[in-house]
């Protein structure tokens, strides 16, 4: 079975259009992010107390809310998790020790008697830890980008390394944007920015550079073979030649992450969703951002583009080459 064999798309000729698409998604996503408070910070980063309870019988959320208001936890975030018995309670409050969690439990026992519950999970994160994690998260992403930039500069020409890192930046931004939009449109996904999502972003940085490397690897090879050809042609040729493998490699990983999203449980859901989005944007960006960036850099720095031919002529030459080979 073969997919995408002998394709001959003019990817890089249309790169300007895709710049616009990316920019539009990022801007739109960030507007939503800042105006609607989508992707709430998980308590890993915000600090606070969170309880996940499983009640014996169905429980009414508004009853719970009244009970909590009475106990002095006004405005507490309360939601069900899948069934009417599973409830998540969250408050930014946290005191010395873990008194908040105890008080919440006592409050429920007092106000909703006769419906026993089991504490599935109870988390309390102090403000210091939250601040530390936020800082570490930022450092981690920056360090990864810098480390990848350094590594790729050794392996490729510098402009390629920069192109790859620009693509990674793009991936992180556009993934945030898409998640913000998704969270806004489908609040049922219960996405939140927690440590797992951070892990997804970091893994994404590592993984989406894979596609870029595969394409660049071929460009590097083809640039030696077709020395006198137009850079855009060489790049298009390389992207087309590697198209099936970039899509299949991303596809197999997407498949596994999708399984994880469906069956991997609550904890892994944010991770799986983020990473799934990241895989798609990563593949997209390896062509429309990383390679496109290199083309524009080359054009800017005034390098010769070789002989200019129309698209039609180009494709004709390409097919001839194939026949010759």
């Amino acid at each position: 079975m073969r997919l995408f064999e002998n394709t001959n798309y003019d990817f890089l000729g249309k790169r300007k259009k895709f710049y616009l698409v990316s920019a539009a998604i990022i801007i739109f996503g960030f507007i939503i992010l800042f105006t609607t408070k989508s992707i709430p910070l998980g308590i890993d980063f915000s600090g606070g107390t969170e309880l996940q309870l499983k009640f014996e019988n169905d429980v009414n959320i508004s009853d719970l809310r009244t009970a909590m208001d009475e106990e002095g936890f006004a405005g507490m975030e309360i939601k069900t998790m899948g069934t009417e018995q599973d409830v998540l309670l969250r408050t930014p409050m946290q005191e010395d020790g873990t008194l908040v969690a105890d008080k919440i439990q006592e409050g429920i026992k007092k106000n909703i008697p006769g419906n026993n519950f089991e504490v599935l999970r109870s988390d309390k994160v102090g403000p210091k830890i939250g601040a530390e994690l936020r800082r570490n998260a930022l450092f981690a992403i920056l360090f990864s980008l810098i480390a990848i930039l350094i590594y790729l500069s050794f392996r490729f020409q510098f402009m390629f390394a920069v192109g790859a890192v620009v693509a990674l930046f793009h991936d992180v931004l556009i993934t945030i944007a898409i998640i913000a939009i998704a969270d806004f449109v489908f609040p049922g996904l219960r996405l939140e920015f927690n440590q797992s999502m951070l892990a997804a972003f970091l893994t994404l940085v590592g993984f989406s550079s894979n596609d870029t490397v595969i394409v660049f690897d071929r460009i590097r090879e083809n640039m030696k073979i077709y020395k006198n050809e137009n850079i855009i042609d060489v790049m298009n040729k390389s992207v087309n030649a590697t198209l099936s493998r970039t899509i299949i490699t991303s596809g197999t990983v997407f498949l596994t992450v999708f399984v994880l999203f469906l069956f991997g449980g609550e904890v892994n859901r944010s991770f799986a969703f983020t990473f799934a989005v990241g895989i798609i944007t990563g593949t997209y960006s390896s062509v429309f951002v990383a390679s496109a960036f290199v083309v524009d850099w080359k054009l800017r720095s005034g390098q010769t583009l070789g002989s200019t031919k129309t698209v039609k002529q180009r494709s004709k030459i390409n097919t001839q080459k194939k026949v010759n080979a």
Partner: protein, 691 residues
């Protein structure tokens, strides 16, 4: 074929190694299945019978993180504000106000609390001197002292926490010191946060307790033994206290036990003697402060004293140890091991070393639980004198390949509590080159101490922290000045630990919980189920895709995929790494990534075949030309994996680990294993295809 042979051998060695490391996990799973079927006495019997193998399987199995097993994860900070309050010479209204402000100001940031405290003090026209140190001390000195005290308090807190967690009886607790003020405690399987919180945040209690008279302890042990054998008829309280009133039968029993126990211990005796050094406590002529100031001058004085006390330690026996060194009854030698076990079950579990003149019991790690259960039995409690209490040693030593604990019998009521200690310091005695610990008490404590030591010369006093014995030195002389020194520690670490413990009595190390996560066991089980299910689903889907898309080549890639999966788990088990829920996510991700390498190679081979090259050349070229892209993509992923491990915490590190192991295993399986399989196939003239 020859060049492939070594690769095949390596592959099989790796597979066998992985299976070997994963076998205990399977074993543990089987034991647990077996155990869940049994209940009550049956399960205890099963545990006793398979003790060794259960423990070893549990130790070597693939570790599951708290999110899968259920349990508590607690991060604690040393409460520096509280510590400053405790250390202050005087506690007035103003100090409370200032400390309250400091607490508020440092709530959300990482600023140095001591710095903030200094500024606040200055604002109020005060200085560190007003509350700490003496008139002649300079501010800088006081500050240095305080900041050292703050640093040290973490060590105390860790020791106190470790001590208590060990007693709480959690399997495989993890206690880590992070940075300068943080402790991470992981308690698998614990589901009572309220209790644990009390345990972790409570104040430590340091006590000095007299070691129970050895002769009486032996008799108590005999009584317990009788209870175990089921013969409780002859026991009356008199036989516990007076030797003369014993029946002849009792007497021979005592001696039999003694002799056999000695025999029993004989194999271990040398090592026990080596490892369990007798410690002693004597009066120190100089206070700690003086000692520090004129260390050089002090050397000669100290050496005289030390020499005498050390020689004392070697040849002094306890006054009432005579009864223990009686000649053995002749018939005792006839007892076989099995008979001994039947007649003296208690002494099979607890061996005494008669030559030491003490009644310290040596208990194998695997028997410790049994002894604890036994000592809590109502019928055993009934035969115990009301003023006896049992306490375990903090440290263990190795003998015959097993950890040995020491069981001490102490007087229930403490002679003195650690609150009277004002300072403690461990040193190396410059003349004898042995470690020692100096201890200082306040005047009130010193007078009590003089009375206690005076009345108990040549007896032992146990230093007990939260009911665990850290040392049990012999009192050599009456200590009147309140300055004591303890000698005979095995090494510097032990002395250092004793210093920490003594200081814990003087100055508690207040800790507060800043992060707490507890996962109920049912959530963990759910997570394991969903983790296993999604792993299998992903594995099957990806494997099917590869077969459909690449036919024969895909099948080979699937073989590599399975080996890869096995290797990752094998590496995890062998390095004792912990599998967490995000770790399972990493594993699933590795499944997807691991076939990618083969996808790159196969696509390249297809390309080469497309240009008309023969299969053999195409395969070789495919592997060769795809290599650079494979290395580059693996390395960039590895870089982010390592960074994630560095910056992530707890479960996320688990993800990073499986990802890293996955990438490494993948390089091997996808490049080496599949390559030689194709090689051999082609060589043998088998039909190879890539769809």
């Amino acid at each position: 074929m020859k060049k492939n042979l070594s690769r095949i051998v390596i592959t099989f060695v790796l597979i066998i190694l992985s299976l070997y490391f994963l076998y205990p996990t399977y074993q543990d799973y089987q034991f647990n299945k077996e155990l869940s079927k049994l209940s009550g006495q049956d399960s205890i019997d099963f545990l006793d019978k398979n003790n060794q193998s259960i423990t070893s399987a549990r130790e070597k199995r693939l570790k599951l993180g708290l999110d899968l097993k259920g349990g508590m994860y607690v991060v604690m900070d040393v409460d520096v504000v509280k510590l400053l309050e405790d250390m202050a010479n005087k506690k007035d209204e103003q100090l409370t106000v200032i400390l309250g402000e400091v607490k508020e100001a440092t709530k959300n940031n990482e600023e140095q609390i001591l710095e903030v405290f200094k500024v606040k003090l200055n604002d109020k026209g005060q200085s560190l001197k007003s509350y700490y140190g003496e008139l002649r001390d300079s501010d800088a000195d006081i500050e240095a002292k305080l900041s050292k005290e703050i640093d040290n308090s973490l060590d105390r807190a860790v020791e106190i926490v470790r001590n208590r967690v060990d007693q709480y009886g959690v399997a495989e607790p993890q206690i880590q010191k992070i940075g300068n003020s943080r402790i991470i405690v992981e308690l698998p399987g614990v589901s009572n946060p309220v209790e644990v919180r009390k345990l972790l945040e409570g104040t430590a209690l340091l006590e000095f307790k007299l070691i129970y008279d050895p002769a009486s302890v032996v008799k108590v042990y005999e009584e317990i033994n009788k209870v175990m054998v089921g013969d409780t008829t002859t026991s009356d309280t008199d036989s516990l206290t007076t030797e003369s009133e014993k029946t002849p039968e009792d007497k021979s029993l005592t001696e039999t036990v003694k002799d056999s126990v000695t025999k029993e211990a004989a194999s271990n005796k040398d090592s026990i003697k080596d490892k369990v050094k007798e410690t002693s406590i004597t009066e120190a002529k100089d206070s700690l402060k003086d000692k520090n100031k004129d260390k050089a001058k002090d050397t000669t004085k100290k050496s005289d004293k030390t020499d005498s006390s050390v020689s004392d330690a070697t040849d002094t026996n306890l006054a009432d140890s005579d009864s223990l060194t009686d000649e053995a009854a002749p018939d005792s030698t006839q007892l076989t091991e099995e008979e001994f076990k039947q007649k003296y079950p208690f002494f099979t579990l607890v061996s005494l070393n008669q030559e030491s003149g003490t009644a310290d019991g040596y208990v194998k790690d695997s028997d410790k639980e049994k002894i604890i259960r036994l000592l809590n039995r109502p019928d055993v409690k009934a035969v115990l004198p009301s003023d006896i209490q049992f306490a375990w040693s903090n440290r263990t030593f190795e003998s015959g390949g097993e950890k040995i604990h020491i069981l001490y019998a102490v007087k229930k009521d403490p002679e003195l509590t650690g609150k009277v200690i004002t300072d403690a310091r461990s040193n190396i005695d410059p003349t004898s080159n042995t470690p020692m610990v100096s201890m200082e008490m306040n005047s009130e404590g010193a007078s009590d101490w003089a009375r206690i030591t005076g009345a108990n010369i040549n007896k032992r006093i146990a230093i007990v922290l939260d009911n665990v014995v850290y040392s049990a030195p012999v009192v050599r002389n009456k200590i009147t000045g309140g300055n004591s020194q303890i000698e005979g520690m095995a090494d510097v670490q032990e002395a250092k630990l004793l210093e920490i413990v003594l200081k814990a009595g003087a100055l508690p190390a207040p800790v507060k919980i800043i992060e707490e996560r507890s996962i109920g066991p049912s959530l963990g089980e759910d997570s394991i189920r969903s983790g296993v299910f999604s792993s299998l689903a992903a594995l099957i889907l990806v494997a099917l895709f590869m077969i459909v898309y690449y036919r024969f080549g895909g099948t080979i890639a699937d073989v590599a995929l399975m080996i890869n999966f096995l290797l990752i788990l094998g590496i995890m088990a062998s390095l004792k790494a912990t599998l967490t829920l995000p770790g399972i996510a990493g594993l699933i991700l590795s499944i997807g990534m691991s076939v990618d390498t083969n996808v790159l190679i196969f696509e390249r081979i297809r390309e080469e075949l497309g240009t008309g090259k023969p299969m053999r050349t195409a395969v070789d070229l495919g592997y060769k030309r795809a290599f650079s892209a494979i290395i580059d993509s693996h390395l960039t992923s590895l870089i982010t994996g390592v960074i994630l491990y560095q910056f992530g915490s707890g479960p996320i590190q688990g993800f990073a680990l499986t990802l890293i192991f996955g990438l490494i295993a993948n390089l091997f399986t996808a490049i080496v294993i599949t390559h030689y399989i194709f090689d051999i196939m082609i060589e043998k003239g088998k039909k190879v295809s890539f769809g």
